[in-house]
Amino acid sequence: MDLLDKYKKTWGLQPKNIDKISSEEIYKMARSKSISIVKWIFILGLIEFSIGIIFMLFNTYQNQNYDMLATDLLTRKYLLYLSFLTVPFLLYFLNMFYNNYKNISVTDNTRVLMEMIKKTRRSVRNYILFNLAVIVLGSIIITFISLKNSTRDIILRNQIINFKLNFDDDESIIIIMVIITVIILTVISSFYQLIYGNLLKKINRNYKELKKLDNDL
């Protein structure tokens, strides 16, 4: 008898009643809250979405000070246009998140299930890339207005007062803006990497294993 056959026989003889859970407990369990990865991805998508919307509303309705600089007002105006332009995209993403979430079914086969989860992940990633692109666009707008305007350095000086830098020339403004943008992008993308990377580590690993079944024949 082969070694594994012997173990298989032992396996088959496992008593069935160990750890038996009562029907009442099963009933309670079936109604408790799921902690599945897919659910988390959907929730995170919603949270990110809401933060974006809140940020936009805040920007729109914030009281404008009388002593606000012309540059500042101009910047605000363009950033507001930018925010409004993003709304159709945001709705598109929200719809996609929801459909993906609905379409993921644990009763599909394992491969299809993992492909669906990865698809969901891709739509979240595209949403994040879209957000990052908007941030870059915003920075470009601010830089551009600052360069065009006579009071150009004031808005920036206010923002980076701690650096105690003296910059009046165009290059300095551009350099500072690039540095700030890069810092923001790095912080945000590493934050995402941390959350989603952690969440999807297992899926990625198992998906690779399953994919390998096809490739190494």
Binding site: L3, L4, K6, Y7, K8, T10, W11, G12, L13, Q14, P15, K16, I18, D19, K20, I21, S23, I26, Y27, M29, A30, R31, S32, K33, S34, I35, S36, I37, V38, W40, S105, V106, T107, D108, N109, T110, R111, V112, L113, M114, I117, L199, K202, I203, R205, N206, E209, L210, L213, D214, L217
Partner: protein
Amino acid sequence: MKNLETKFLLDFENNQNIVHKVCRIYTTDSDAHKDLFQEITIQLWKNYSKFRGDSKFSTWMYRVALNTAISLYRKSSKRIKTEDYSDIEYKIQSVEYDDNQELQLKALYAAIHQLNDIDKALIFLYLEDKPFKEISITLGISDINARVKMNRAKEKLRTILLS
């Protein structure tokens, strides 16, 4: 609705050892075992209304349980690892199940724990004596792939058991 619940609980009751075995393969401590068991139960119930009875309930249960273990379940990071399974004495009160078999079973579980998640599923379905057709459908791979991969997984397991 009430009927569905009763039917579900009955179906579950008769097959819950499948879920326990999946949990014992994919987790190494009792807290994680409970968590995974609960998540599988939630998924089974959530999808039960869609279960049309085209296949046997147990076949469907294998699929949902393995899918949850492989794809959906994520061990809570807050948890501190508690007692390990190898330290728990499994109380077995069965005539045909002697000490030697208990040791064998422990060794088998310990060996399976060293496999990757997909190999675990393959070995589990082999031990449960499932036909290749069912294995390939459950995992979404071709019949031939299932056979080839199964041989490799068995080879890995054999090596671990012999070492």
